[in-house]
């Protein structure tokens, strides 16, 4: 359902993303991994139409993403960024219900959906009435997840969603998120620099470097038949494989 065909992007003649094509596995989690500046965030922003592609196309099903239909297609995508991107002038509840309110959904429907999501991500009614500045980092990301899931979109795009959290909270949230993704059957694209996290969540990993896709596959596939030395080096550097770590 979500695919990119030969998309590329340059800024001031500098290629930040070489042409890449990929069909994201429906209902599964794909991780886009690589060091900073490898083009993984650019790829994600192109998927949402926050940046315009130089070549190629992003496709939702058979529909090509354009400037004109971007606002509509975005309703089929939930988007979560590192710091949550919650609006500080709205309470947590208002952040979550913003789009549903805008679309004119009834109070009852909105309220029921919020209760359902709050239970899913373990957020209390008290927290929902707070402003973002009065929530912890982990709570903010849970609210951001609620906001992303509010309209029940088939696709979730996440840019380092757990990157700013301390390790214990991050560990807990990873477990919860994985369970939620499995249960909701979403097509998830997770951008992370952390190979552990990528391997934990994703059935398929896209490893990028310097604007190019280096290799795609499971962690085992990457380990067993690395496309180039960088693949092994990157995994080893992150001690992401017990076999490599022991060497």
């Amino acid at each position: 359902m979500l695919a990119v065909e030969n998309i590329s992007k340059s800024f001031d003649d500098e290629a930040v993303l070489q042409p890449v094509s990929h069909v994201f596995r429906e209902g599964e989690t794909t991780a886009v991994v690589g060091p900073s500046g490898c083009g993984k965030t650019t790829l994600l922003r192109l998927l949402l139409g926050l940046l315009q592609t130089d070549t190629g196309a992003v496709k939702f099903g058979s529909e090509k993403l354009t400037r004109e239909n971007a606002a509509r297609l975005r309703l089929r995508v939930g988007y979560i960024i590192q710091q949550g991107g919650l609006f500080p002038h709205l309470t947590a509840r208002e952040n979550v219900s913003l789009m549903a309110d805008y679309l004119g959904q009834s109070r009852e429907v909105v309220s029921a959906r919020i209760d359902e999501l709050a239970a899913l991500v373990h957020i209390s009614a008290d927290m929902l009435s707070r402003f973002p500045k009065n929530l912890s980092g982990g709570q903010r990301q849970r609210i951001a997840l609620m906001r992303a899931l509010m309209l029940d979109p088939p696709v979730l795009l996440m840019d380092e969603p757990l990157g700013a959290l301390d390790p214990m909270i991050r560990f807990d949230l990873q477990h919860e998120l994985k369970a939620i993704f499995a249960r909701l059957n979403k097509t998830v694209v997770l951008v992370t620099h952390d190979m552990h996290e990528a391997a934990y969540f994703a059935s398929e990993i896209l490893l990028m470097r310097g604007g190019s896709l280096v290799q795609r596959g499971s962690l085992d596939a990457l380990l067993d038949s690395p496309a180039e030395a960088f693949v092994t080096d990157f995994i080893r550097a992150q001690r992401a494989d017990p076999r490599l770590a022991q060497q």
């Binding site: 926050l50 002038h89 709205l90 805008y102 906001r147």
Partner: protein, 519 residues
């Protein structure tokens, strides 16, 4: 009760809902102010003007009372700016008649050297104006310096000044610029001095305090003898005749036949000695203009002319009228500015090119001096008083609001902007639900800045007869009456503080709880 912010309400109801109480109060204040200002409507009233100095006030008052005694409805617009403003006001019909001097009319209005009434009438007739009724004295310009200095340096004529380039000149702003003022005088006499400009009302104080050595004076100034000044002889005959006359609209004799007949009856009634004496009563004895004029005209001199105390002046009978006028000036212009400036600021934030143009233009407006702005606006709008004053204040109010709207929007965290985009909100909804609420604090502080500055700037409205606390400042300045100056300045300062506090309170309603400090 959990009060929700205005932007939050906008978000929920997706229509403009403003705290009713605030708007209601604002409207009530404006209506009350308008009523204070407008007063009952009159059929046709004779509008007498006067310039911003004692003698003009007195002559204007004499003309006004003379007409009033003939049963005409009369209003005296006291202390209006300078010659340019009076000339424009006269042409536009904002005033009907005011006292001026032949030399001034010739040099300032008509750019001619001849000062006879025939030449002046010929020149003025093309504007529908005329000049009549020589009042009986010649109030020429002259330069003066302390008698003691004059004797020490042996200076008796203007020519004598050229040998003393170290003398400090302090000249009235208008004199510095006038065709018959400093530029020509310096050229004719070859004077090497660089004068500093100051208000005529303050020059006597300055010369008495030894801050300046030479000042410009009018021949009938009351303070010449009091401050022991030597009036220098105009030995090269630079200054023209400055016979006091009345400049009027040609339709006045027809509109007010009886009053006009009485006014022309003032011809040759006031000689120089009488004028100096009346000026002295105002400036040295603190008698008010109404009383002086009544005293001159005889009969019903009912006004007690003695100087009143500061508190009397502060709480004078004009207090509520001036307060109403001042509030109307400040808030009506501000309201209009907000309506225009916020969209301009949004536009400026949307497009960099438009932003540069918009910010440059509103910035440029800010650099236009207030008096110059008024002189532009009077012919443009064809009137004096409240309307040009409101337009001027409106224009001055734009910059802070436009700039703060622009910067408030431009400073929004890009990740928030992007989050709104990623949610799928269209542009209009992003503006109303996300961007404007996030910029609300900045926008409100721009409005507050405009309001507080407006309270101060509104005092200039008095120059063109729009009233407000500036009326006391203008009169106080002309009379060098410190108590009256304070009686104007203190309410203006108090109003500025009140406005500041009100906005701080309003911030609680307009800026979302989540954006404010603390919790």
């Amino acid at each position: 009760m959990h009060t929700r912010s205005l932007p939050a309400r906008l978000c929920r109801d997706s229509r403009l809902e403003v705290p009713g109480a605030c708007i209601g109060m604002a409207v009530a204040v404006l209506v009350w102010a308008a009523v204070c200002v407008a007063g009952p409507a009159r059929a046709d009233e004779l509008k007498v003007g006067s310039k911003r100095f004692t003698e003009s006030y007195i002559l204007g008052e004499i003309v006004a009372q003379t007409a009033a005694r003939e049963g005409a409805a009369v209003v005296h617009r006291r202390g209006m700016g300078n010659t340019a403003i009076l000339f424009e006001a006269l042409k536009a019909g904002g005033i009907d008649v005011y006292p001026d001097y032949t030399g001034t009319i010739a040099r300032q209005m008509l750019r001619t050297d001849a000062t006879d009434l025939e030449t002046l009438n010929k020149g003025l007739s093309e504007f529908g104006l005329g000049v009549a009724t020589k009042l009986g004295f010649n109030n020429t310009y002259a330069l003066a310096l302390p008698e003691e200095t004059a004797q020490r340096l042996g200076i008796t004529t203007v020519s004598g000044l050229s040998g003393h380039p170290d003398l400090r000149f302090g000249l009235g702003h208008e004199f510095m610029e006038r065709n018959d003022g400093w530029p020509g005088l310096r050229q004719l006499y070859g004077l090497p001095h660089t004068p500093s400009g100051l208000d005529h009302g303050l020059a006597y104080e300055a010369i008495a305090a030894g801050q300046i050595d030479v000042m410009d004076i009018y021949a009938t100034d009351a303070k010449i003898s009091r401050y022991a000044l030597r009036v220098l002889e105009d030995d090269l005959r630079y200054f023209p005749e400055y016979d006091a006359v009345l400049v009027y609209r040609l339709d006045v004799p027809q509109r007010f036949p009886r009053a006009w007949q009485a006014i022309t009856g003032l011809r040759s009634r006031i000689d120089a000695k009488t004028m100096v004496a009346m000026n002295a009563r105002a400036e040295l004895d603190g008698v008010d203009f109404t009383g002086i004029a009544a005293g001159f005209l005889g009969g019903a001199a009912t006004v007690n002319g003695r100087a009143s105390t500061f508190l009397d002046k502060l709480a004078g009978p004009d207090f509520w009228r001036l307060t109403g006028q001042h509030l109307l000036l400040v808030f009506a212009s501000l309201a209009a500015a907000v309506v225009v400036a916020i969209p301009l600021g949004v536009w400026a934030a949307r497009s960099e090119a438009a932003g540069q143009v918009i910010l440059s233009i509103v910035g440029l407006i800010q650099t236009i001096p207030a008096l110059a702005m008024l002189v532009f606006l009077i012919p443009l709008l064809g009137r004096i008083g409240m309307v040009p004053a409101l337009v001027a204040l409106f224009l001055y109010s734009l910059l802070p609001v436009v700039r703060n709207t622009h910067s408030g929007l431009a400073d929004i965290d890009p990740s928030l902007r992007e989050s709104a985009l990623a949610l799928g909100l269209p542009a209009t909804a992003r503006l109303w639900r996300i961007e404007l609420p996030l910029a609300a604090r900045s926008i409100l502080s721009g409005i507050k800045t405009s309001a507080v500055i407006n309270v101060g700037t509104a005092t200039i409205a008095a120059f063109i007869g729009a009233g407000g606390y500036g009326e006391r400042l203008v009169t106080g300045l002309a009379l060098n009456d410190h108590a009256l100056l304070l009686a104007g300045a203190i309410p203006a300062a108090a109003l500025a503080l009140l406005v500041q506090w009100s906005f701080d309170l309003a911030e609680r309603g307009v800026v979302a709880d989540g954006l404010r400090q603390g919790q």
